[in-house]
Symmetry: C2
Subunit: 335 residues, 2 copies
Amino acid sequence: MSSNRITSHDVAREAGVSQATVSRALREDSQISARTIARVREVADRLGYVPSSLGRSLSRRTTGQIAVVAELGNLTYPDTVPVMHDELALHGYRMLLISESADKELDHEILFDGSVDGVILTTTRLDSTLPARLHAKRVPFVFLNRTARGVVGDSVTADNAGGARAVAQLLLGEGHRNIAMLSGPTDMSSSVVRERAFTAALREAGIEPGHRPIIRRELVHESGRLGWGDLVSMRERPTAVFCGADAVAVGLLNAIAEQGDSVRRPAVVGFDNSPIAGWPVFALTTVDTHLRDMARLATQMLVERLDITTSGAEVAPRKVVVPTTLTLRSSHVGG
Amino acid sequence: MSSNRITSHDVAREAGVSQATVSRALREDSQISARTIARVREVADRLGYVPSSLGRSLSRRTTGQIAVVAELGNLTYPDTVPVMHDELALHGYRMLLISESADKELDHEILFDGSVDGVILTTTRLDSTLPARLHAKRVPFVFLNRTARGVVGDSVTADNAGGARAVAQLLLGEGHRNIAMLSGPTDMSSSVVRERAFTAALREAGIEPGHRPIIRRELVHESGRLGWGDLVSMRERPTAVFCGADAVAVGLLNAIAEQGDSVRRPAVVGFDNSPIAGWPVFALTTVDTHLRDMARLATQMLVERLDITTSGAEVAPRKVVVPTTLTLRSSHVGG
DNA sequence: TTGAAAGCGCTAACAG
DNA sequence: CTGTTAGCGCTTTCAA
């Protein structure tokens, strides 16, 4: 039935002050007398008053909320989301986690209906219209490890090209001459860059097209399993495989494990250095993208952007590229 | 500078109707003439008008938003969150994902400040004050695979006791007589029930206390690794280990793998049947709690509860217990 | 079928 | 230091 919500009016009446005074006292806003503050506080506590974020947001024209668009299936983000959450809290913002699956694009209505002050994009595809729509609606945003076609915006990206080149050199140095890549979709900026740099490095080393087959799928566990099926059916089976993400590499290693010890395992290298890569059963050699650092950086950039926007100033978008680190374990030696 | 937001007033002016008519037309609310609806729609689209959820929520006294309190470290929830999201969407609700870490309890302010209509609790500890506070503030909620001490509320739980008993029988049937348990914290309802039922089953089978050691830690990967350290230091090393969650079992198997093939591996059984349990490298025998079904059920219960609350009726809390299924793979035979 | 007006709970001038 | 008064953008009577 009736909404039992306690409002600032209730507190005001009970404390014998005006509603505005309650509002101020609870925010320690202007110079309200210590006595009044104490009294209002006491009454508010006693009544269990919690200010309505709806009323506040509507009145202030700012919500203090930031949306993080993340993909649940992605193994890397249980790591990064807490970082963003804490960094946002540090600056007085609340995090709204928007979960997105690769298959179905969300309507994203919540990003446009005034529920949030800004957005961190971690899943955006190259041809997504989302960034442009955010731009048109003046919703500040930042890309984390992604970019979109023809869209200007703050971004933090790993040095995907450098990482991929390092992998190429590692594998070539180990003597491999037939190296496959289990790459990601062509509309995923990070994956495209990795693939391109990797291919280029192999080409420069004189590896022929037939000896650098590329298979593209979503960068998920299942793709690694499917990839193994593709590899074994090749006439000359590659001796090494570069996976566009750790999730794929792990799927591949799982598929191989399923065959038992009979098969000769190719060298396998991943990308991301997600926690699972370090699990002894995989001991995955991979490229550390320092995602937690990237997440913190992206968050800070968005917060700064929010300040800039509020102040009415104009500052050009900033693009930060974070160096990667090759992380050697044992999967890059075949078995 | 100024907030460029387009409001229903802007649309009204442009369409030559009143603001109220815009509101109605866009909701196809009362009997607005088809012509007016069409015109308003056209103008709204052209102007890129998106209704403010703040204004709507404040006016309606209901937000259409449901918070899901989940733990990011938990391996099971990338599976369940999409289920809840879709089920909520089906009923016209939006999901707000609140990430919680085991270490630091969030302030949960957002659950009380009018931002949401209801809450799904998936991480609550036995002695958490959260459920009681929600109850006091009349915020409808439902427990998913959890309960709290002395709190009445709708809940969906797995038959944790039945599952644990099934594991005991399996291990006893395999001839084990010295069975350890890597259990969870004593303030986690699901874990407490599993441990209690398991211990009882072993006791009934005449297994002596010294042959059913229990080690309690958070139900996370790291605990499995630490647990292996504890096990190897025992005078009579257990031949089988029951883990309170798949995450622990996987950590344990990882620790064992680290030692190489030299060690005799104990039988290992997990709980949850999270996707990782099915990975060939682990082939984890475990108890399927059918978490996706549970998640759907919990969501439906909350939606019903919301309807009940709105209608002003009184319906006693419902407790649903979902049967578990023992899922045999190969980890329950030692090596 | 539509408009005018009140109000959801808060913040923010403006007085005093 | 505190009260009064306008809104923030929407929904919802009540009239017309």
